[in-house]
């Protein structure tokens, strides 16, 4: 009896096996056909007059920071893979380590990352070491780029400038932001105040609504030390005070009277109106506090809108207003000019470089920008699209206006009027310089040193750094 059962099972098994093979054989046979059809249709829908498949079969790895805007890009990567036949690996790396990893890869020429989300302040450093390719060659090559379709000039002008060195583009901006005021519209309305137009007004507004006993702190900005943290806000105040990074003979000078005045303002603002832990607060902490209703206003990146409008975390949806950076005593109004851009790793093989360029073109194209933003299926919609045309798109605008009062107008005006590529010192020594300044600012904030002393010490260190 047992033997019979087992042979019976074997028979069935074999039959099933044959069935399965036939089905899979059919499927496999049809698959390439399906694939080519769909990717042809895809290429057609993109409308670019280039051969998207010219790097077919390559495999590239892209390093990105964990951020909503990159997660959306990762979510649509199959579009790219179908379009080009290039396998795309995405490696999410913590923001504190990504620059190091990128630089290790560049300097040792290991070619691990075809491209990565690059901090605009680092291009001078990259260019000085020859780690990244000039992109004008790619842009001007009709085999690689359909100039009309790609429309490079449609990308935010200021951002293009920061991803270039001496006028030559080395990176294509993907996502960016501008700092602006974010405030509780309901609280401002209650006190009958309007968002500040000058730095002094910002202080007086804060004075009116400050109520720490009831857990409402009036205003705060980034206090954590870091080139991308407190040194993301201070330079705007510096510009407002009319300060510059380089003096008339081109020497970097950070302890000018304007600089001291700006630092004094920063310290005064934080000490008077921010919670006492602010010296350790970074952007997420400010957004958290605002979302919980304990912060009346803050000045930070406009892309924070996505966070404070997240129903999962925020208690203040519908009560948010936006306004441009206040003007400083000098009359200047300067916001941040930040964006993440994609360069091409010079250590790659020529075919991989083409594959990388195709990726960059695809990611920064109008289609993908829309696909990751107002056309995206998930809950997080990208705010920081790089294209003027997308900002003008009515679907995009109506989505963005849900972020709060005046969001679209503030963002567009900030991008077009308030940006300055030299808002922070552009030099190959930026990593060290940025770090020294960040330390000085925090030292002044926590009362370790006076503004004057902190900046003087920073100046001494920077002098040494800039030598030779």
């Amino acid at each position: 009896m047992k033997i019979k059962k087992s042979t019976l099972k074997k028979k069935i098994g074999r039959r099933q096996f044959i069935k399965n093979s036939v089905y899979s054989g059919l499927a496999l046979g049809m698959f390439p056909a399906i694939l080519t059809h769909s990717s042809d249709a895809l290429a057609a829908s993109f409308g670019a007059n280039i051969n998207w498949k010219q790097a077919e079969g390559s495999e590239i790895t892209v390093g990105l920071i964990p951020a909503g805007y990159f997660k959306n890009l990762a979510a649509v990567k199959s579009t790219f893979e179908d379009l080009t036949g290039v396998k795309l690996n995405i490696e999410m790396t913590p923001p504190g380590q990504i620059r190091n990893k990128a630089m290790l890869d560049f300097s040792k020429k290991t070619g691990m990352w075809a491209t990565n989300s690059t901090d605009p302040m680092f291009y001078y450093l990259y260019e000085a070491n020859g780690w990244v390719d000039r992109l004008d060659e790619y842009l001007e090559n009709p085999k690689l780029t359909d100039k009309k379709w790609f429309d490079y000039e449609d990308i935010q002008e200021g951002w293009r400038g920061t991803a270039s060195v001496k006028g030559v583009p080395y990176g294509i901006p993907f996502d960016g932001e501008a700092t602006c005021q974010i405030y509780r519209k309901d609280i401002y309305d209650k006190f009958g105040i309007k968002p500040a137009n000058t730095l002094d007004e910002y202080l007086s507004n804060a004075q009116k609504i400050h109520d720490p006993k009831n857990r409402l702190w009036a205003a705060a900005v980034r206090g954590m030390k870091g080139a991308g943290q407190n040194m993301y806000i201070y330079p705007s105040i510096l510009a407002g005070y009319g300060g510059k990074w380089f003096n008339s003979s081109g020497k970097m000078t950070v302890n000018t009277p304007e600089a001291i005045g700006a630092l004094d303002y920063y310290v005064k603002l934080q000490k008077s109106f921010a919670p006492s832990g602010v010296s350790n607060w970074n952007w997420p902490d400010l957004a958290d506090a605002f979302g919980q209703g304990t912060l009346g206003s803050y000045i930070d990146a406009n892309s924070t809108a996505a966070v404070i409008n997240n129903a999962e975390k925020s208690k203040v949806i519908g009560k948010i207003g936006y306004a441009r950076w206040p003007k400083g005593p000098s009359g200047r109004r300067v916001c941040s000019i930040w964006n993440w851009s994609f360069p091409i790793n010079a250590a790659l093989s020529p075919k991989d470089k083409v594959a990388t360029w195709l990726f960059i073109q695809w990611a920064c194209s109008k289609e993908t920008q829309a696909a990751t933003s107002h056309k995206f299926a998930g809950a997080y919609k990208r705010v920081g699209v790089n294209r003027n045309s997308v900002w003008k798109n009515s679907d995009f605008q109506s989505l963005m206006s849900k972020m709060g009062d005046n969001f679209v107008d503030t963002s567009i005006k900030s991008y077009n009027n308030d940006t300055d590529p030299d808002w922070r010192p552009r030099t190959a020594k930026w990593p060290a310089v940025g770090g020294e300044m960040a330390t000085a600012i925090q030292a002044a904030l926590v009362g370790e040193k006076s503004s004057k002393q902190a900046l003087l010490d920073a100046q001494t260190k920077i002098d040494k750094l800039m030598k030779g």
């Binding site: 504190g96 190091n100 630089m103 300097s107 450093l125 000085a128 070491n129 857990r215 954590m224 030390k225 870091g226 080139a227 919670p275 006492s276 832990g277 602010v278 010296s279 350790n280 902490d285 506090a289 304990t294 190959a428 020594k429 930026w430 990593p431 060290a432 770090g435 330390t439 925090q442 030292a443 904030l445 926590v446 370790e448 040193k449 750094l465 030779g468």
Partner: protein
């Protein structure tokens, strides 16, 4: 005797060689590379300047005020946390030793802080525990009338806080090792001492302590090395701030090598740290076993 001691030697060599070989292969090149780099100018932001620098980096290091500040801080940090870990660990181990039935539970609870990822430890303590007016620790101190403090913002308090965090996470190591050591001590020695009417304190100082001295020294050396190389938790908690108040040598070397991309100088700092560590450890090592 000769044959057997020869046998013993070969046996010992057989047992030890694989490990020594692995270590030789994997650590010799890095140390040489590090030492070589310390004599070079390797600054990625000034590639044209790269080249042999002789003793320049070392001279710069001795003149670097920030370096010495960091050095002093590191000593304070390391000595504090290792002493605390040892004292608390030993105390807890002695306590728990007397309750053999429940020991497994304490051992289990002890493992928990160590297992928590250092990055999470730093972030957790920074925001959910220590933020004034927002964190739990601050909530407690306010509730019991001690008031609110700028735990991570006030320079001296920040040093205390990072020592606290590190000690919190790593004392269980000392606890577990000492517990294992203490529990394996032969009990007949204690019986003999009890018969001799030696007091508990005397028993501790004259019998227990000498017997576990080798374990204590190893703990001191190892915890010191970990304290010296602490990175993830402090970086997540303070980034070495406020200012440079919690920037221990390891963080300073990290900042120099990676953030300021001055790898030559960073190597010099690393080499110096290595020399100091080896010297201190050598002293401790020599007193490890009193013959």
């Amino acid at each position: 005797m000769n044959a057997s001691s020869q046998q013993e030697k070969s046996f010992a060599i057989l047992l030890v060689s694989p490990s020594i070989l692995v270590l030789l292969i994997t650590t010799t090149f890095p140390i040489l590379y590090l030492i070589w780099s310390s004599f070079q100018n390797i600054n990625l932001s000034m590639p044209s300047n790269d080249g042999f620098a002789g003793l320049e980096n070392y001279i710069e290091m001795f003149n670097d005020k920030q370096y010495w500040k960091s050095f002093k801080l590191t000593i304070v940090y390391t000595v504090s946390t290792v002493s605390l870990q040892l004292l608390i660990g030993l105390g807890l181990a002695l306590l728990v030793l007397k309750i053999p039935k429940a020991q497994w539970l304490f051992r289990l609870m002890a493992i928990l802080p160590i297992v928590l990822a250092p990055v999470v430890v730093g972030l957790f303590w920074r925001t959910l525990m220590l933020t004034p007016d927002f964190g739990i620790v601050d909530f407690f101190t306010q509730s019991i009338g001690l008031g609110s403090y700028a735990w991570l913002s006030e320079p001296k308090l920040a040093v205390f806080s990072v020592i606290l965090i590190h000690t919190w996470q790593w004392t269980p190591f000392a606890f577990l090792v000492l517990l294992a050591s203490l529990a394996s001590l032969p009990s007949d020695l204690y019986e003999a001492a009890k018969i001799d009417r030696a007091s508990a304190l005397k028993r501790f100082f004259y019998i227990t302590l000498p017997l576990i001295r080798p374990a204590i020294i190893i703990i001191v050396i190892m915890r010191s090395m970990i304290a010296l190389s602490a990175y993830a938790a402090i970086y997540a908690a303070t980034r070495g701030g406020p200012g440079t108040a919690t920037e221990i040598l390891n963080l300073y070397a990290y900042r120099t090598s990676f953030l300021e991309v001055n790898f030559g100088y960073g190597s010099t700092l690393a080499v110096f740290i290595l020399i100091v560590t080896i010297s201190v450890a050598a002293v401790l090592y020599s007193i490890r076993r009193k013959k």
